[in-house]
Amino acid sequence: MIPSFGENYRFQWEDLGDIELGRPNLGPQLPVTVYRLAQYTLREAIAQRYGDDTAGDLLRDAGWIAGREFCLHVLDRNQPLTAFIAQLQTRLRDLGIGVLRVERADPESLTFLLTVSEDLDCSGLPITGTTVCDYDEGFFAGLLYAYTGQSFSAREIDCWTTGDRTCRFDIKLEQLLAA
């Protein structure tokens, strides 16, 4: 997926501000509850106005921007795939986003089966029967777009909300899907 606006969005990494300067006492961390409060109330407000599907799509688009910007500013894109994944694992763990594991990775066809345990977005959520990590789907697609320059589809197949204990993402090149 590549959002309809592609790379033409206004957000810049600098928009996150100088946190060290702004929070000399409270620091850069905050509880997961606060993050989820922001994400799920935002989702709810969008869903109330535009419906659940649109809310999911918009969160996916936002995740795509986040993934691309994360790759551009936090990761080294000039590494080979394995080293890139290893660095991604370390960063995601250090930032408390989740524990990334690779179940399958084919560097030729660029298909991946990834899991994220203790996921920031969903771990511990009640079971609803449908996956909820739309933002993560966009995040992986945007991240891999920044690394490879190609369009990826990321689909969550297991989630805490489907009763699983780890999120599992099936990620493929978009061309493969079309073929």
Partner: protein, 298 residues
């Protein structure tokens, strides 16, 4: 409780015995006529049998090392095993990366196994570092860090198979090393050898091979270099040497240099011999110049 209820309960008890004996239990549907209370129970019991059967199949697959079998979706009884499968799949991927040479893999969150795996990786890293050190020592000169004669010979062997000619060879000899060793000691002699190595290394391109092949003797392979470019390299080295000597007047160095160019791989040995001769001519010429300077009336 009617007859149908009793038949159902008997069959259900049989299924439980089968499961406890670790065998596959077939599905169980109640006969017509079971009481409504038992019908509700039988529906749940059927789901439980289905889940236990899926659990049995999945755990057998895992126990046999079959990580490719995806578990039946929607059966949460499988979740812990699914988590284990995920960890094993990730470990498989990590092991493949280690086999491909990536020794940065780290296992977390798997208790004692994590520490064992990480210790193994640390040991492999140490082994690799030791092998690299041995490899380095086998191809490098310990005093100067330049390549040694072994490496030089390997490169010459490779050049015999190569087609990228002309190739020039340069011989360099550090003048007066024996006298310095005898009069000022080997530490000063070693210092001059290191200086000479630096001058030669900085005087040629990074891709050229500079090797120390004897106590005071060096050889340089100048790839894709004709005679004129080789002469330019000599001029460059002399300029570097002069600059060094200007900076350090206490321990100046003097190098005799000679080159020769091979136009084909057949001419390599001959080029090496002629470079050596050219170096000796240079040495004699420089000695004569020094004598002339010494004989000049003061």
């Amino acid at each position: 409780m009617n007859e149908a209820d009793l038949r159902y309960l008997k069959a259900a008890a049989g299924r439980i015995d089968t499961l406890l004996a670790a065998r596959a239990a077939t599905p169980l549907l109640p006969d017509e006529g079971v009481s409504p209370e038992l019908l509700t129970f039988s529906e749940r019991f059927a789901r439980l049998l289905e889940a236990l059967d899926a659990l049995r199949q999945f755990s057998i697959a895992l126990a046999n090392g079959n990580l490719a079998q995806d578990p039946q979706p929607g059966i949460h009884l499988l979740d812990p095993l699914k988590h284990l499968q995920s960890s094993l799949r990730h470990l498989t991927w990590q092991t493949q990366q280690v086999a491909a040479g990536d020794l940065d893999q780290q296992v977390d969150f798997l208790g004692e196994f994590s520490s064992a795996f990480n210790q193994m990786i640390a040991a492999l890293r140490e082994k690799r570092a030791a092998e690299e050190k041995v490899r380095y020592l086998g191809t490098h000169d310990a005093l100067t860090g330049l390549y040694n004669r072994t490496y030089f010979n390997e490169q010459i062997d490779q050049l015999r198979e190569a087609r990228d000619y002309p190739v020039s060879l340069m011989i360099a000899d550090l003048d007066g090393l024996k006298t310095v060793n005898d009069t000022r000691g080997h530490l000063v002699g070693d210092l001059l050898i290191k200086r000479a190595a630096q001058v030669l290394q900085h005087g040629v391109r990074p891709a050229d091979v500079v090797a120390r092949i004897g106590g005071d003797e060096f050889v340089i392979i100048l790839y894709s270099t004709d005679q004129a470019a080789a002469q330019a390299a000599i001029t460059q080295i002399r300029a570097m040497m002069d600059a060094y000597n200007q900076r350090d007047r206490e321990f100046p160095i003097s190098l005799s240099l000679g080159t020769s160019t091979a136009m084909t791989h057949h001419a390599l040995e001959e080029a090496l011999r002629r470079a050596d001769e050219a170096m000796y001519r240079d040495k004699l010429q420089r000695k004569a110049q020094i004598r002339q300077v010494d004989l000049r009336p003061r």
